[in-house]
Amino acid sequence: MPFGHCTATLRPMSGQITVSVNGETRHMPQGATVAALLSAIGLDTRKVAVERNEEIVPRSTYATLALTEGDTLEIVHFIGGG
């Protein structure tokens, strides 16, 4: 689990959940949605795609899908490639 690495100082406050985003540990309020996460990071939702626990998150559900403790998220975009 991603929060297995947390030390005491990184332990989330109550009412918070811990998720992994692109391999980094992040804390979000309980009940936070995918849209809230993208907004907290500062990403334009039109230019990224999100996978949660290896399942695609349809764009139409960003605003309603709540994150849960231990979720593993991947947020990707297009870059130059051949």
């Binding site: 990071i41 795609a49 975009h77």
Partner: protein, 262 residues
């Protein structure tokens, strides 16, 4: 065909005028990427799918410079070594942009990054089952090419030479053989080093050429992009025109009659 006749081509029901497909990688910056792609006249561009940089979320993105509204994005599976990774990556690409047309490439190790054909077959099958239209990078192997076509790939893309090598079309006989047998478009993908390589690929009868480094790593990418555009058109016209037969002895171009005599 006459100069004014339509010479467009199709992949999976989509029609294109340009027979040059270009990559968007390896440029100095996004401005240069945009300028070179514009100069190439390409309508399809390959793109990679990667994690966003969480520490710099406002960094300029490819889409801001190469608009997916103007160009058909062809997401690739570069860096994927298994069918599972390829499917995951392209599902994300589909969600990011809504495209089904994708470039499958499963590569072996350095130094050749040669197409890993067993893994490519497996990934192609998984992607086709998932509803993708797969343009597939492959070995210049006519049996493999036929098998990929029979599986339902929408374009066969044998390498001219290893990726980024700039060695040109090193086995033109096999590229011709693959093209002769294929009912779907055949593109030479990888290995093109300069304009004459692209022209040769087209003279062999290929439907299009896909290249990246030849433009991005030229001293002047925008000028090379122009050269590639002209080369692909020249090669295509030469193919359609049908070259003269090769002859071991000379055959004078000027008539031998009517010469002045002293």
């Amino acid at each position: 065909m006459t100069a004014t006749e339509d010479d467009s081509w199709q992949i999976a029901g989509q029609r294109f005028q340009s027979r040059l497909v270009v990559g968007t990688g390896r440029y100095k910056d996004l401005e240069e990427t945009a300028a070179a792609i514009e100069a190439s006249g390409a309508e399809i561009v390959t793109v990679a799918v990667r994690r966003v940089n969480l520490s710099d979320p406002k960094a300029p993105m490819l889409q801001d410079y190469v608009s997916p509204k103007r160009y058909t994005y062809l997401p690739n599976t570069a860096g994927c070594h298994t069918a599972k990774d390829a499917v995951r990556t392209l599902r994300l690409a589909r969600e990011a942009g809504g495209w089904n047309l994708v470039k499958l490439e499963v590569l072996g190790p350095a130094p050749f990054l040669y197409p890993d054909m067993p893994a490519t077959f497996e990934a192609a099958q998984a992607l086709i089952a998932d509803g993708f239209q797969v343009m597939v990078y492959c070995a210049d192997d006519p049996l493999a090419a036929k098998r990929l076509e029979d599986m339902g790939c929408v374009a066969i893309m044998p390498l001219g030479a290893p990726i980024g090598s700039g060695m040109g079309v090193v086995n033109p006989y096999m590229i011709s053989a693959i093209k002769r047998e294929a009912k779907v478009p055949v593109l030479v993908d990888a290995g093109i080093g300069t304009a004459s390589d692209a022209a040769l690929a087209m003279e062999l009868g290929c439907d299009a050429v896909l290249l990246n480094s030849a433009i991005a790593h030229a001293k002047h990418p925008v000028i090379m992009a122009r050269a590639m555009k002209a080369a692909v058109e020249a090669g295509r016209h030469a193919f359609l025109a049908g070259r003269m037969p090769r002859n071991y002895s000379a055959d004078a171009s000027s008539p031998m009659s009517g010469l002045i005599r002293s």
